[in-house]
Symmetry: C2
Subunit: 196 residues, 2 copies
Amino acid sequence: MNRPGLRERKKIETLHRLQEEALRLFDEQGYDATTIEQIAEAAGVSPSTFYRYFPVKEDVVVQDEYDPLIVDVFESQQEGTAPLEALRAVLTALFREFTDEDIERVRRRVRMIFSVPALRARQVGQSAATERLLAQMVAQRTGRSAEELEVRHFTALVVASWTVAISAWAETDGTKDDLAANLDKCLAHLEAGAPL
Amino acid sequence: MNRPGLRERKKIETLHRLQEEALRLFDEQGYDATTIEQIAEAAGVSPSTFYRYFPVKEDVVVQDEYDPLIVDVFESQQEGTAPLEALRAVLTALFREFTDEDIERVRRRVRMIFSVPALRARQVGQSAATERLLAQMVAQRTGRSAEELEVRHFTALVVASWTVAISAWAETDGTKDDLAANLDKCLAHLEAGAPL
DNA sequence: CGTAATTCTGATAGCTACTGTCAAATGACA
DNA sequence: TGTCATTTGACAGTAGCTATCAGAATTACG
């Protein structure tokens, strides 16, 4: 069987400890003023180890593992659903799983990402990957190519919409429901052609 | 009077030489493999000087000065124009000014930006500034606040739309008119609520 | 069990992006 | 031509990041 095992558990622990200590230090002293060495020491590991968990400094905040979940939820949607509707459902379902603690951690991370340009910059790289993923899935569903202009445009708009919804929410101290509401508002606005 | 003067002219020359040599070297050897020292030497200046012109390496490709032009064109639009229409006109007017040489340089730069993650990441920072600028202008026009969710959402979508239009165009060897056409297609798609 | 194989960690050396500082060089101007 | 302001180059230093390798911890297996 493939049980967790001590090694695996230790790795996850170290990962979380690095993320937590980093977030704490960034809050206390600022992102730039905090060195990898400090984070590593606070987490009780060597700088080498930090780089094994996070290829670049930014990733200690930015890295997440939502992409596979997104794919799962999307695929579990029934065939007929319109792409925008399907993607709305994906995010809704994703957030529903979150505990209150998760939500607070997301808020902290998002706030930091949007207040530190280097983090935001890195995050966009991740979003681009997610965007390509969405394009793939949407293309498959609608029998188009993921390279088509309309498909790429659609996914870019959806991701932009999400981003605004989430960042605006993170600035407040709203609840999980407020986040969902924000998301609905943005996607509805997009679907209406973004009238002003 | 405020004539150019030798000093000013030399500065502009140095700036352009740095940009050109950098682009050439990046093409030849790749972005990461090219050092500031190489660029500086190719342009006949010291590394110190490079950093005086470009705060970070990425800027030698990413930096541009369109923002003031965008503001000018937007403000010169008549009051009644709908925001989306006004922004479409802004880009159209902006591109109209470009010579064939300009267009080719833009294409090279855009291609490089979208093929080198570090450049793309930096570019997003710039786009964010432009986005805030648009939000300001649009807010003023429509008598809203630039912090309002709908306004931010609108501008984010427009910028995302532009970005797709331009990046898709840069992948081809289309003309200036093709770029304009792409832009129209994307904005129309956005205005229609991004149907698929 | 105990030993061998595998995986993870820490230490070290080194490269490059980037910052700060100061003296020398260069153009502006009277 | 001489003085002032600006630009430049040289130097030293910090930190992010890579590559490498020996030793330690965990796992697999006889």
